[in-house]
Symmetry: C2
Subunit: 661 residues, 2 copies
């Protein structure tokens, strides 16, 4: 029997499609997404808390995004797979659903084959053997009047047939727009190639340059470093984790590993040492606004979860590439336009990592040292959203910390620029290649359940004591933590000068040692928020980008920071709306959301493929436990570690190498 | 022949002591510190740049802190070991030198044996077999009138003779003060045990509690987790680095690995791919002010480099505890009071670490993926400063990034508190144990040499474009980087809202791709600066704590952010002074200093030994290279990685485990 939070199985997906088809009788259906509709929290908790094994599981349900044939209006149905019923079926005439692979392929092909596009390509006068590929981009938003579903195809040349030829090094200066439903060519937009917004009158022949490649076969073996020695991770007794379908136990942790098309991996029912910590932890959204005001770039703003999906774009991972040691893989699943399930093999990897020293103390009186290493469990996926990669990892450690890591890598979205030209909006990263400056703003959704659902978010400021007559502080060294409870949903600020941190507490449970309420502290990733002002589409489409911290009262199905439908959206229907509610969030079932990210001022060093830029958010126990949770980790020793000494002292050293400055 | 930057060898240290002794003829000398006095940068560069191997090396020199017998005045000499001369010999009547091991032992013993202290201990009525130990703390500062050199001994009980018994779990409520020169008892101060500053009239019998232990033998085997499986790092072909005495080459990097008693490991002459990056990178200071205004805590403020030394307190590292894989060790050296060298074995370890994915891209058209792993070189030491541990690591990666990591661990400084009492100044972390809130403020000293010594520090702000008539920005999405050069020495601010980052550039060299000056960006660790106000001793003793960024013109021997002498200091003689100079720092030989750290609101989870709290600062190339410096790293594959699949799908899964909320 499946767990209520397991992804839908192939037969369940087929059944969901069949139920909806039957419901619509003769009208053919094009499916965009079929995915698990999680049970209501009430029904899920009732099931999980039930002391008798015989208590009924909540019904398995699916949500379905679909179109009726020939109809551009997005529809959404909620289907009860267990009962075989359609619980809800609605039209959403005002929104655009996310991309799906078939649509993407159709546009890609339409663009490649369109005579007008081909005529434009011809004008490039590319060398023999060269071809042109296109990256269909979801249109973005630059006007509330755009109601058609559009893709803009950015064009690139490829000079050879290597499967990893870097077409992003050869951007061409026109970008056709296609209607996603009809595959009609709407317009061929020209792209600026100068410092300003001026356009060529006509597509000009390409300026022959050598592309910057990363392909091993194109670069050839002599190009590569020869002096990197192998490094293996050996786990002769296997990993320390245990897997029961998707229920994971490891080092006092337990959780259910969910997966959705939209979010990728999701942690549910996270416990440590038998105590409840989090009901659900997930990446809820990420948006990438670009700072170039020229058409058409001004409308470029990807919502990589809402528009596409971290699950949908997850890589099938390969042994030996993404992780070292003993690796467990988990599959994902998606559906085709006809509602057929497609297994996505090995989209999540899970393995243990040695993260260096976990804690150490040496008794300086006698030199006796105790060292504990920091073993972590890493649950990871890589999403390839067109040119770019995001590596998302949930990292659990033995000190009961939960870290969420995002590594940005892949290839930057590149645009053409004339040789010997600079742009205020980005950096020339290769000859003829402009990488526009942009932001990545992510939102992490934390549904806490610290020793139960009655939780509160508070913030602590650490400030000097001033003018307090009760404190004798002749030297002015006193500082004090002041704690403020969040009482209403809303967006909240960090304050580095006050070392402001947010803490989830259970006000009903007191730590016996400290006398403080049990809690977990959010170690936020302090980030520049959205640079664009509140009146911009960039801001209106995702208010979550404007504040680092959000608190809402819990409601079923409120999972996505910018709202459910982001593609070509003009207004946020997520945190911007939910945070306005007048509702107590004290000692209640609440959700904490954290927006973080990076402002990417591009550099040649980020090309052709960008070295990872790592962001980390951590949740750490704060008076949740009565002592260091990793106090019981066996101390490190050579027997456990099998390290080896490099005997450089014994080697006859060469004369000291001089380095010329 | 030694490199001019190698630590002094035993025979050189002996010779330095001998030269000074001869200089002072009959007056006996007590040596505190003898360490390398680095050559002037001019002479060093002249030597390193010399094209002929026959050019003379700069003379080997030592600086010596010492006392003449019976004289409390600190003296400092500069000795030319090569020539056998004393170049400078000065008295410093206004300052206190750092601690040394012999002094520490003397005070420790004096306190343990003093009849008045013993009489006080007797009043504690400790159980049979128990004993008392003391931690002699450098006195700190609470008045400009204290001219004696003082230690305050914090007293703790130990209930058994286990070599790792955690005495910090049993703090006692009195703290004798001793004169460091005479070993006289100055006073026995009582410590507050309540919520306020009130003191017991008399030392009261101890409140019997169970200490919280971390010792493996005290806790016994059944206490520990049984389910952690071994994990080994195997490097069958050895490490990828090469060691020539202390000159290291690894993955296009080269540097000289220095070591000083004060700073621990120091990177000199850091090059990447034959290009000069940094002349010297070192941790320059760290201070720990406490926020409890009660006597005597109000004077507690450690300067762990200036008062003691990260080198002096570095652990002798043990194979299998601190690192996995192939480990190279380097020794340090110190001297005794008689000027005899003492080898400090294995105080630096160097090894390679696999840091996960370095870069990755998947061509979504055909699924072809290229993944490069992120191999790093870690140069690490652990300093045990009494109760606390700092793990300092320089981490180099293949993308030409240099990271400086500090992990705080060890045991918090603990003070007594009556049972069932809370304090506004800290957290009760175990029964009867108060851990006072405090800050750790570190300063990293970066002496850049990007393609030469003519460098400038600039800062970039990333701000929206507003009211610029030359920019057509109908949607308000434009943002722009504005760059400002630092023209004068001073302390400078971060600004998260503007994504302000500091960048070192060489204005004389332009990146051929981007057209930007070659540079390295400082990825700062944004931190709360010193909480205490500018009028406090805390601030006056180390102005570096008040701003995150400092720039100075380079001067020989200006290495320590708070100045040379910090012990019982009342005024900063470092950045607070040097930053006032009117001196151009544009296209000049400059130094960039970064202050960062953490505000530690203590928690029971930090006791008995604190899980590492990690801080990272990075220096990343920005238009220094023409493409991703790690583009030539061989791609990852199973042949290189030897990973293994955990075949959980094939295992008959158990029924899904339910977790009760």
């Amino acid at each position: 029997m499946s767990h209520p939070l397991d992804p839908l199985a192939p037969n369940e997906l087929r059944k969901a499609a069949q139920i909806l088809r039957a419901h619509h009788k003769t009208t053919p259906i094009h499916f965009k997404v079929i995915d698990l509709l999680e049970p209501s929290k009430a029904s899920l908790l009732a099931y999980l808390n039930a002391s008798t094994q015989g208590s009924p599981a909540p019904p398995r349900r699916a949500y379905i995004y679909y179109h009726q044939q020939g109809n551009a209006t997005l529809c959404k149905a909620k289907v009860n797979v267990t009962k075989g019923t359609v619980e809800e079926d609605r039209q959403y005439p005002e929104v655009q659903g996310p991309a799906d692979f078939e649509e993407f392929e159709r546009i890609h092909k339409a663009c490649n084959e369109h005579p007008r596009v081909r005529a434009e390509v011809k004008k490039l006068k590319l060398p023999e053997g060269a071809s042109v590929v296109n990256d269909p981009w979801l249109y973005g938003t630059d006007s509330p009047d755009v109601t058609r579903r559009l893709y803009q195809c950015y064009m690139y040349a490829v000079l050879n047939d290597d499967p990893e030829a870097n077409h992003y090094s050869l951007p061409m200066a026109f970008a056709p727009i296609f209607d996603a439903h009809t595959a009609e060519l709407v317009e061929i937009e020209r792209l600026p190639r100068g410092a300003g917004a001026e356009l060529d009158q006509e597509t000009v022949p390409w300026d022959a340059v050598e592309p910057v490649e990363y392909s091993e076969s194109l670069l050839g073996k002599p190009y590569f470093r020869q002096d990197l020695k192998p490094l293996y991770v050996e786990q002769p007794e296997g990993p320390s984790f245990r897997i029961d379908v998707r229920q994971i136990t490891w080092q006092k942790w337990s959780f259910h590993l969910g997966w959705t098309v939209r979010e990728g991996p999701v942690l549910h029912n996270v416990f440590y040492d038998g105590r409840s910590l989090f009901h659900r932890v997930s990446m809820s959204e990420m948006t990438v606004p670009y700072g170039d005001p020229r058409a058409p770039y001004r409308r470029k703003q990807a919502f990589d979860l809402g528009d596409t999906g971290f699950g949908l774009t997850s890589n099938t991972l390969t042994l030996g590439c993404d992780c070292l040691g003993q690796i467990a893989y988990f599959d994902g699943i998606r559906t085709t336009g006809t509602g057929e399930p497609v297994e996505m093999k090995n989209v999540i990897c899970m393995h243990e990592v040695d993260e260096g020293i976990g804690w150490k103390h040496t008794n300086m009186r006698n030199g006796q040292a105790s060292t504990v290493r920091n073993r972590t469990l890493v649950v990871q996926c890589t999403a390839t959203v067109m040119n770019y990669e995001y590596i998302l990892a949930f990292v659990l450690d033995q000190a009961a910390n939960l870290h969420v890591e995002v590594k940005a890598t892949g290839i930057m979205s590149t645009m053409p620029i004339a040789r010997h030209t600079a742009s205020p909006w980005g950096t020339v990263v290769a000859p003829g290649v402009l990488a526009v400056n942009h932001q990545h703003l992510l939102n992490l959704c934390i549904d806490p359940a610290l020793d139960g659902t009655g939780n509160t978010v508070v913030y602590d400021d650490v400030l000097p004591v001033r003018d307090d007559p009760t404190v004798d502080d002749p030297q002015g060294c006193a500082f004090r933590r002041t704690t403020t409870a969040i009482t209403q949903p809303g967006g909240y600020e960090l304050n580095l000068a006050a070392y402001r941190t947010y803490r989830i507490i259970n006000p009903n449970r007191t730590n016996a040692i400290s006398g403080e309420p049990v809690g977990y502290r959010l170690h936020a990733s302090p980030s520049q928020m959205l640079i664009m002002g509140p009146e911009t589409f960039n801001s209106r489409r995702g208010r979550f980008t404007t504040k680092p911290i959000w608190v809402t009262d819990y409601r079923d199905e409120e999972l996505y920071a910018a709202g459910e439908f982001t593609n070509q959206s003009t207004d946020d229907t997520g945190l911007g709306v939910w945070s306005q509610r007048q509702q107590s969030v004290e000692n209640a079932d609440i959700v904490l959301w954290h927006t973080f990210g990076t402002t990417h001022i591009t550099r040649p060093e980020d090309f052709p493929v960008m070295p990872v830029e790592k962001m980390v958010v951590s949740l750490k126990p704060t008076s949740f436990f009565e002592l260091n949770p990793s106090n019981d980790v066996p101390h490190s020793s050579q027997i456990l570690s099998r390290s080896r000494v490099v005997e450089h002292h014994k080697v006859e050293p060469e004369p000291c190498g001089r380095c010329a400055l």
